[in-house]
């Protein structure tokens, strides 16, 4: 078996606040194999985007990484200097941020924005070679070469999102982190964008971390899924297992919240609100919303345990 390309070990991210420290990511560990598609799912505020950003050391003050380490192959990301981290972003790990289609520069043509990525990483290409690579990248995401001459406002949402993927893969990263890459798109365009991401990922042999809350999308795209709740991973398992047999009550609730296309009148929201990270409940953070909770859940915080190929953080699993 090959070595993991990315390892996250005991990562803790905290935000300082006058009313006390808030821990948005708490003791998260996982490893990503080359070419693997890993999903991170949870409600808004569960820490999944913060986790994604902290892998790239993109957390800004008052947030900071308190403990833990992230390794890309043999390089410990915390040890990199500013220059090293700049080279790592895009060339090692590329991020397709949330709402990234609005991250394109409105006054630069698409081709120029891709060329900027080359220039930023010290790639001195001749004009002809640069154009050839831009055309190839656009073709890889299913866009015609003429797009290079266009401005972002001339493109539809799906085309912009694909242009962002083209920029993300421009330096052949080993890991692509996609944070809700299709949340503003309709289903038809969403499927086109996800198929594009799947294709370029396979061509590069890159691993993908898909961050999101749509369990249907996760079921159709990722190989393995991690469920986050209040900053912690509460379940990690191969996707087929987690859908067929979710072991954590929160995972079950997330799957049940997905509107079904079979039986009608079955909208099941998760009761209650996600806890405030400043005043986490005692014991298991999910216990106030869990109908199965017993006294032990209120007193003792569950740790992730290995159960038949899955990792589950629940006393009752």
């Amino acid at each position: 078996m090959s070595e993991p390309v990315l390892r996250v070990e005991g990562l803790r991210v905290a935000f300082d606040h006058p009313l006390g420290k808030v821990r948005a990511v708490d003791d998260v560990s996982f490893a990503l194999m080359p070419g693997e598609r890993f999903g991170l799912a949870g409600e808004s505020g569960s820490g999944k985007s913060t986790l994604a950003l902290s892998i790239l050391r993109l957390i800004k003050p008052p947030g900071h990484i308190e403990a833990g380490a992230v390794w890309l192959d043999d390089a410990r990301i915390a040890d990199l200097d500013d220059d090293g981290i700049r080279r790592l972003r895009l060339a090692g790990i590329a991020l397709v941020p949330q709402g990234s289609m609005n991250s394109l520069n409105p006054v630069l043509r698409i081709g120029r924005q891709i060329a900027d990525a080359f220039a930023d990483h010290g790639l001195r290409l001749g004009h002809r070679e640069e154009q050839r690579r831009i055309t190839a990248l656009l073709a890889a995401v299913g866009l015609p070469a003429t797009i290079a001459r266009m401005y972002p406002h001339e493109l539809s949402g799906g085309m912009k999102q694909r242009a962002c993927i083209a920029i993300a893969i421009s330096l052949r990263p080993k890991v692509i982190i996609a944070d809700e890459p299709t949340s503003a798109l309709d289903v038809v365009v969403q499927r086109q964008v996800m198929a594009t991401l799947a294709r370029v990922q396979q061509e590069l042999g890159a691993a993908v971390i898909l961050v999101g809350h749509d369990m249907g999308l996760m079921a159709q795209f990722v190989d393995r899924l991690g469920i986050m709740y209040a900053g912690r991973l509460v379940e990690v398992a191969p996707i087929a297992d987690i859908i067929a047999r979710p072991r954590h009550p929160y995972t079950r609730a997330l799957i049940a919240a997905l509107p079904s296309l079979e039986a009608r009148g079955m909208l099941a929201g998760i009761p209650g609100l996600a806890p405030s990270l400043r005043e986490l409940p005692s014991g298991c953070a999910f216990h106030p919303r869990c109908e199965l909770a017993i006294d032990r859940c209120r007193a003792e915080r569950p740790v992730l345990r290995d159960i038949a190929g899955a990792q589950v953080g629940c006393h009752l699993a």
Binding site: S44, L254, A257
Partner: protein, 297 residues
């Protein structure tokens, strides 16, 4: 509860704005209880503004960050003279907040940035409820909240129709939630009606090729893992659109000569369904004025 479904740019939001009287139609009439919206007198317009409420997509943009959230709730109370005293107004607002599953003590007195996106959106639903409207036009009310809150907010909208008899026009590009909460559905494609009818048959057994594409593109948790593979197999036609023909012809796997000659008529394929596609031309044509027949039970 009726639902209106189409992709970005298909005309859903424009339709909502027409219904709210925010834009005037180039041709045709929007009637509220039989009266042309453009010809409403001062009093009638005021009644219309009270009876028809809107919920918009963006739960961030509608708040003034310098005012407490109470502001968006007290304005309609004052504007429509809904309460006779302060205590009365407080009860009314409290009742509306509880109707959408919020605790007034956790909401009132706070500033918008202190609430979560889901809370802000539910406050907007509560605001729409205050004047006891007859119709709520909800334009993508849950597109910016996550899946579990989506179910909660739509559940509270659905209860409004069931318990208070309020009609709702739910505008969205999310067919799955629409299927769960609506009774009837209109599917729009590039400003044209593709398919309309009772939600159950339209979503379970779509007849228009565009509706079929929409349904197949929904990623499902409990299904074969063939969602991405299907995308790669989606036929690409090279038909060029004509100004007179069907607007979906260039993406349609069943496009024929006939599609390019004239816009397809709406055919009544079932008692409660109309489809604008030449494949169903042996069925009777449904006139625009009779559209209500397939939508209402």
């Amino acid at each position: 509860m009726m639902q209106c479904r189409g992709e970005s740019g298909s005309g859903k939001t424009t339709l909502a704005r027409l219904l709210l009287g925010l834009v005037e139609p180039t041709e045709g009439i929007v009637r509220y209880r039989g009266q042309d919206l453009r010809r409403l007198g001062f009093e009638a317009r005021r009644t219309f503004r009270r009876d028809v409420q809107a919920i918009f997509q963006d739960p961030y943009g509608v708040y003034n960050p310098f005012y407490r959230v109470d502001h968006v709730l007290t304005v309609p109370v004052r504007r429509f003279g809904l309460a006779t005293s302060r205590a009365d107004a407080r009860d009314l607002i409290g009742e509306a907040l509880r109707a959408v599953g919020l605790r007034p003590e956790e909401i009132l007195g706070r500033y918008p940035h202190q609430l979560s996106g889901g809370q802000r959106q539910r406050v907007m639903v509560a605001r729409a409820l205050l004047p006891k409207p007859k119709l709520i036009v909800a334009d993508e009310p849950v597109s910016m909240v996550d899946a579990s809150l989506r179910a909660t907010i739509l559940g509270s909208l659905r209860r409004l129709t069931d318990e208070h008899g309020i009609s709702i026009l739910y505008i969205t590009h999310d067919l799955a939630t629409a299927y769960q909460v609506s009774d009837a559905i209109l599917v729009l494609y590039r400003a044209h009606l593709a398919e309309a009818g009772a939600v159950e048959p339209v979503v379970r057994r779509p007849q228009h090729p565009y509706t079929q594409l929409l349904v197949s593109a929904i990623p499902r948790a409990h299904a074969e893992r063939d969602w991405l593979a299907e995308e790669n197999e989606t036929p690409r036609t090279s038909v060029a659109l004509t100004p007179d023909g069907c607007v979906f012809a260039d993406r349609c796997p069943h496009a024929v000569e006939l599609c390019l000659a004239a816009p397809p008529a709406l055919h009544r394929t079932e008692p409660r369904r109309g489809v604008a596609c030449v494949q169903y031309r042996e069925h009777a044509v449904l006139s625009a004025s009779a559209l209500g027949e397939v939508l209402l039970p």
